[in-house]
């Protein structure tokens, strides 16, 4: 059913459609309206769930770990400071293999206080073992939450998943969203029935103290689960297309890359802007494409390598900075493309931090820059900050 809604409303709708059973709610801008919408749904019996009004985000994640061990489908949402506060428990949720699904409305961390979109919050959690999916628009936000439950709860995966929607750009902007009927979702998403959950007839200790002689092997199994998730992301997407008609292309969406000379790797809402710029460049005869990563965890290294064999210059746009080698995605893309070192040229662009708008003009300049590199020009800086107020007239 077509409706007009923000990504936050879409996320709440998705939780309702997924028939989540235990919700932990704590407010933080720009996530808050997800929690409010769910409170309304629970109060009106639109959603039959237990709504725990926790007293912090750390407690939100802790409560859901407990609930998940009983076998309940769980949901919470957060941003920025809240995500950072949960940090300790994110490791716990993934290590304990609890398939919690959590929209993260991306927002910069302070200081200074900044409530606008930035990926530093989610990139700060990339080592936790959580699946991480980025959404381009409100429709994808709703759809990805449904897919996330299917992927996360698969008995061979059993890892928690973050579904990332950009703060304010998506969370507070109304877009057309096709909301599936709950009966259709019931076919796509079966009730949560984990193998590993508390059983009063077979009492176990969940957590334990593992000595160094076996600790690595447990960690290895979690790494294998993340690897297996790659296939599962594709499978969940194929099944989603069959059930609801929308195809997102799996781990990585190639936009106009078939014959591209240069391509830009990007995540989130800015991917939409980059696609518009790519269209404009194409109208002018320039062969550019956009590589929209949908999954950052698991990281689609094989898919990137395959593109790298065809496209000679690959740029990476990061809405985060690691204080190491540029943005978080840049480092991992270069790592994936390393077998093609010498054949493929790469460059990293940092932009849109703290909610700074990234425009079509910015992307056109990026594509021009990549095309210049592609035709043998010098790369100049390896990592460039886009539209930085540095006194130059570059942007």
């Amino acid at each position: 059913m077509l409706d007009l809604m923000t990504a936050n409303a879409a996320a709440a709708k998705a939780a309702m459609l997924a028939r989540v059973e235990v919700i932990a709610a704590y407010p933080i801008t720009p996530q808050t309206s997800i929690s409010e919408k769910l409170a309304e749904m629970c109060a009106n019996n639109e959603l039959r769930a237990k709504y725990i009004k926790v007293e912090s985000e750390h407690s939100a994640m802790a409560a859901l770990i407990g609930a998940s061990f009983i076998g309940a489908r769980t949901f919470t949402a957060t941003s920025s400071q809240g995500l950072a506060l949960m940090h300790e428990m994110l490791f716990w949720a993934a290590g304990a293999r609890r398939p919690i699904v959590m929209p993260v409305v991306s927002r910069a961390l302070g200081p200074p206080w900044n409530i606008w979109t930035d990926h530093m919050d989610v990139m700060g959690e990339r080592d936790t073992g959580w699946l991480q999916f980025f959404c381009e628009n409100n429709q994808e936000t709703l759809d990805m939450i449904l897919m996330a439950y299917r992927i996360a709860e698969d008995r061979d995966i059993m890892l928690p998943a973050m579904v990332i929607e950009d703060g304010f750009i998506l969370s507070h902007t109304f877009e057309k969203v096709d909301v599936p009927a709950i009966e259709e979702v019931d076919f796509y998403l079966h009730p949560f029935n984990p193998d590993v959950k508390v059983n009063l007839n077979k009492p176990r200790r969940y957590g334990s103290l593992v000595m160094p002689d076996w600790a690595m092997e447990f960690r290895y199994n979690n790494a294998l689960a993340m690897e297996r998730a790659k296939k599962k992301v594709v499978e969940a997407g194929t099944a989603f297309k069959k059930a609801f008609g929308r195809d997102y292309g799996g781990l990585l969406e190639e936009y106009r890359c078939e014959d591209a000379e240069v391509a830009l790797v990007i995540v989130g809402s800015a991917a939409g802007t980059a696609k518009v710029s790519a269209d404009r460049m194409r109208e002018r005869g320039k062969k550019v494409g956009v590589l929209k990563l949908r999954a950052f965890r698991p990281f689609p290294s094989d898919e990137l390598l395959a593109v790298g064999k065809r496209v000679g210059t690959i740029g990476v746009f990061d809405r985060s900075y690691t204080y190491g080698q540029g943005g978080a995605i840049f480092g991992e893309v270069r790592n994936a493309l390393f077998p093609l070192a010498g054949q493929v040229r790469t460059k990293g662009y940092i932009g849109g931090l703290g909610g700074r708008d990234v425009t079509e003009n910015d992307f056109e300049k990026i594509f021009e820059d990549l095309l210049a590199i592609s035709s043998g020009g010098k790369a100049g800086k390896e990592i460039e900050w886009v539209a930085l107020k540095d006194g130059s007239l570059r942007w």
Binding site: G95, R97, D195
Partner: protein, 94 residues
Amino acid sequence: METYRDLPQSTYTLQTTESVRTGTWRTLRPVIDQSKCVRCYACWKFCPDLSIEVHEEGDYPKVDYDHCKGCGICSNECPKQAIQMVREESVCSI
């Protein structure tokens, strides 16, 4: 348990600790003198290691030397001084 393939998904336990012989920890062992024992079962009540066994009401308590850590609570609590703590080296090893 040979390889990572044999591990359970997530770190949950597979058995109780009963097979761990904590009796090897002790340096003193309790010895119950039945002639003094009045079967009040204080020793059974206060043993943190469940190492004083009484199967049925009326039985005399017995020490489980496989698990007894030799803390001495039983000896200290016995109202009839029926339990002595003796050095482990003075008896045959288990």
